[in-house]
């Protein structure tokens, strides 16, 4: 092992042994869980969901949950050469000996890495090729709201938040194993647990044009699986004693989750729809947990996390409570996800108290018309006002995020992005407190990807060629040399769209792409568009069918058996409102009856 570790980059990510890792005596453990993140240690350890589930599972004395990450290519090669199977960090034991392998799936481009990890564990990637003696392989996470592309490989999906449902499934699995039941018999029982989707119990048929003609379920499986949520978020588990990596990771800090859900309803945003209802923690709870996590970890930075931090009602008391502790202890506080329309002097003073980092706003679109279409209710004067406050306060680094290819976008909308950036620049010239250093203004664009369970799930993605045309149009419209323009590659966004709206047949494409050398596709150095396109061709599927096609409204969607609690009618109504350019007020102004209140009657939305 030493020899292997000395031949790879950053070996500390493969050793475990970090402060606060959980090690248990196997004599007292009845079930072993391998919690897998299909990306590198640095990415996976930065994920709050992993840290929450690790803590929740390990609170149970009879369960030992260990972490597993994807090895970087150099390590994978060494492992394959030496016949070393994928192992868990805490014990170093091969995960194929565990009871359960559970994947956290946050983004589509990680799919090939899942296959890579199952294979590296020494297990067959396909559900049908695994025996009853092999571990149960399950998955949860945001992309599982459309689980279909991964159904060939995963026995069972958790839909929604995993804090409760995962343990119910693990307990049932243990009972069934003890009773000598087969995996198939267990899965049938598990399908009865709310929030569990067992793909083998569903059958999909297609019409001649390739669209889905019917989805049917076997006896005992629900026709529609509704996501599970944490009802009392204020009292939900928070990892105060969190693992502190001994090597640098991407987000190396305490992450405090203010609330789940979002009041805004931006029509492109999957998280904004699937994480409803809005459930917040009290500022007192967060202050207490934040300080305890800092004390327990020794981290020198804390960040507030949510879909829209400036919408948090208790933001000022929370910031003040944290700063009282942070300032004397040399700990800095950062606030991402600020909206451009409610950034204030008071807020700014709090953010800059310890260290002044860059500021990012995401207007998403250049014109008011298009911002109304996507329901990003940010007004130009609000944005410029926020910028003015920031510049007067001494900020001189600003990033602006936009999407290209949003539904109904015209060249006028694209050019308006440049105009907006120029206006921000002239605002800086008028009111910057420190002009000597100049302004670093960055404009970034990415290609819009239609996501399931959003009002834009039916929309087609523009082609890569069209995206690049709009990129050049924007580039030539940006005249000032003070503005830096970065655009995200179209190639990954195309495959992301295919996988996001994929049906069961796309599983074959994922397998082909993986067999052709895929894995770590979320890393540009390992992503290959050609590999994906050849895989699609090989399997007789057309990327345009999945990515660029506008799906007719009446058509059965691949993810029809899954609901996040927002009604299909509401999504459709929002889509129509988008095309009429009509905005929908945020949930605080008025309940827009999205269906969440009926789906989760026991939860008060945004209390």
């Amino acid at each position: 092992m030493h020899q292997i570790l000395m031949s790879v980059q950053k070996p500390a990510r493969y050793t475990g042994g970090e402060y606060n890792q959980v090690v248990k005596d196997l004599n007292n453990v009845e079930q072993r869980i391998a919690l897998c993140f299909p990306d590198t240690y640095e990415i996976g350890m930065s994920n709050l969901g992993m840290r929450i589930l690790y803590g929740v599972f390990n609170e149970r004395p009879d369960i030992w949950c260990e972490r597993v990450f994807a090895p970087w290519r150099d390590m994978e090669q060494q492992m394959r050469e030496h016949g070393l199977p994928l192992f868990a960090l805490e014990s170093g034991d091969p995960i194929r000996e565990f009871d359960v392998i559970a994947f956290s799936l946050g983004y589509e481009m990680a799919y090939t890495t899942v296959l890579d990890m199952i294979d590296l564990a020494g297990l067959p990637v396909r559900v049908g090729d695994r025996t009853d003696e092999m571990p149960l392989i399950c998955a949860g996470g945001t992309v599982c709201y459309n689980p279909e592309p991964m159904t060939d490989f995963i026995d069972l999906f958790f839909i929604g938040e995993g804090e409760e449902v995962d343990l119910e499934v693990f307990d049932l699995y243990r009972k069934c194993r003890r009773a000598g039941m087969t995996k198939a018999a267990f899965l049938k029982l598990a399908a009865g647990i709310p929030g569990v989707y067992v793909p083998s119990l569903y059958h999909v048929s297609y019409d001649a044009a390739g669209a889905i003609s019917a989805i049917s379920e076997e006896d005992g499986a629900p026709a529609v699986v509704r996501k599970r949520i944490v009802r009392d978020f204020d009292r939900s588990y928070f990892p105060v004693r969190t693992i502190v990596p001994s090597t640098e990771i991407v987000h190396d800090r305490v992450v405090l989750e203010l609330f789940r859900g979002c009041i805004r309803g931006c029509r492109f945003c999957q998280a904004g729809y699937v994480y409803r209802p809005v459930r917040a923690k009290k500022p007192e709870t967060l202050t207490r947990q934040g300080i305890a996590a800092l004390e327990g970890s020794g981290y020198e930075e804390i960040t507030l996390s949510s879909l829209s931090t400036s919408d948090y009602k208790g933001l000022f008391p929370l910031c003040d409570g944290l700063l009282d502790w942070c300032e004397p202890n040399h700990v800095s506080l950062s606030l991402p996800s600020l909206r451009a329309d409610n950034f204030s002097v008071d807020l700014m003073k709090r953010v800059q108290k310890v260290r002044k980092s860059g500021l990012t706003f995401a207007p998403e679109a250049g014109t008011q018309r298009l911002r109304d279409v996507i329901n990003k209710n940010v007004k130009e004067e609000d944005l410029l006002n926020s910028c003015r406050i920031a510049f007067e306060g001494g900020w001189n680094t600003l990033k602006l995020y936009f999407m290209l290819g949003l539904p109904t976008e015209t060249d006028e909308d694209v050019i308006a992005i440049a105009e907006l950036a120029e206006k921000v620049l002239s605002t800086w010239k008028q009111c910057a407190a420190q002009k000597n250093r100049g302004l670093r203004l960055t404009v970034s664009t990415s290609l819009f990807v239609p996501k399931p369970h959003t009002p834009f799930q039916w929309e087609g993605q523009i082609t890569s060629e069209e995206y690049l045309r709009r990129v050049s149009l924007l580039k030539s419209s940006l005249r000032s040399r003070a503005i830096v323009y970065n655009w995200h590659e179209a190639e990954t966004s195309l495959i992301e769209a295919v996988l996001a709206r994929g049906d069961r047949r796309v599983g074959r494409v994922i397998e082909s792409a993986w067999r052709a050398g895929g894995g770590l596709d979320s890393w540009s150095e390992y992503f290959s568009l050609d590999r994906w396109l050849s895989a699609m061709e090989e399997e007789g599927l057309d990327p345009r069918f999945y990515a660029n096609r506008e799906i007719p409204e009446g058509q059965i969607l691949p993810w029809n058996m899954i609901t996040a609690g927002v009604t299909a009618d509401y999504l459709l109504k929002e889509r129509h409102a988008a095309h009429e350019g009509v905005v929908t007020p945020d949930c605080r102004k008025k309940c827009t009856d999205c269906g969440i209140r009926h789906s989760y009657r026991e939860v008060r939305c945004d209390e």
């Binding site: 070996p11 500390a12 475990g16 042994g17 970090e18 502190v244 090597t247 040399h330």
Partner: protein, 218 residues
């Protein structure tokens, strides 16, 4: 660093794979967890006043690492070692804390042990022969290129012992100006002993620090 406290610590087991840079962060965070305030530098980007002497190469173990830091209130309590050991990751352990009386620049030699793993029984006579020579020049790669080191001058008491599955090496190696990495002994063997077999793996551990008069340094 007036008012500095010197810590003697070990870095063994899994922690050998923590790089020097990561070790600094790891120790800083351990100090915070133990609620021990380290004085920060003044300036635009304040950093904790903490220095680890003689960076340990990645993958090497040590039972004689030295770190100096300035506690915020000038001293540490009797409980310091215990408290810190409760806050450190696997493999890093504080052994002693004391007021330093000597400068780190006085460290001249490091006693190092090594283990070269072989699957066939190795021969050590030629190695012993080699280290009786009066000049053993080897190339050392540095950031500025390749420099020449004479192991006959910058190493002492180089001994080899056959053991199960390999060779044990012990040596006193120059700690600084120049820093002699124990791997250079292997390099010398490969260069001067005909058909010297490359070991399957090589493990090293720092055992003790000495000054120029071969007295233990603390």
């Amino acid at each position: 660093m007036n008012e500095a406290v010197r810590v003697l610590f070990e870095k063994t087991g899994l922690s050998r794979y923590i790089s020097h840079l990561d070790l600094q962060h790891t120790l800083q965070r351990a100090f915070s967890r133990a609620a021990i305030s380290v004085r920060h530098s003044n300036g635009f980007n304040p950093h904790p006043l903490m220095t680890i002497a003689l960076p340990l190469p990645l993958g090497y173990e040590s039972v004689c690492e030295i770190m100096d830091f300035v506690p915020e209130n000038g001293a540490v309590s009797d409980e310091f070692i215990n408290v810190m050991n409760g806050a450190l990751p696997a493999g890093i352990r504080f052994l002693e804390a004391y007021a330093p009386s000597r400068k780190v620049s006085e460290i001249r030699w490091i006693r190092t042990e090594g283990f070269w793993r072989y699957e066939t029984e190795p021969c050590i006579e030629e190695l012993e022969e080699l280290f009786r020579r009066t000049a053993i020049p080897v190339d050392k790669k540095t950031k500025r290129g390749i420099s020449q080191i004479d192991l006959a001058i910058d190493s002492q008491e180089v001994r080899f012992r056959k053991c199960e599955a390999g060779i044990r090496v012990t040596a006193l190696l120059s700690a600084q100006s120049p820093t002699v990495n124990p791997d250079l002994i292997l390099k010398a063997a490969e260069r001067y002993v005909p058909d010297f077999p490359v070991p399957k793996s090589a493990l090293y551990r720092r055992m003790e620090l000495f000054d120029k008069d071969n007295r233990i340094f603390r």
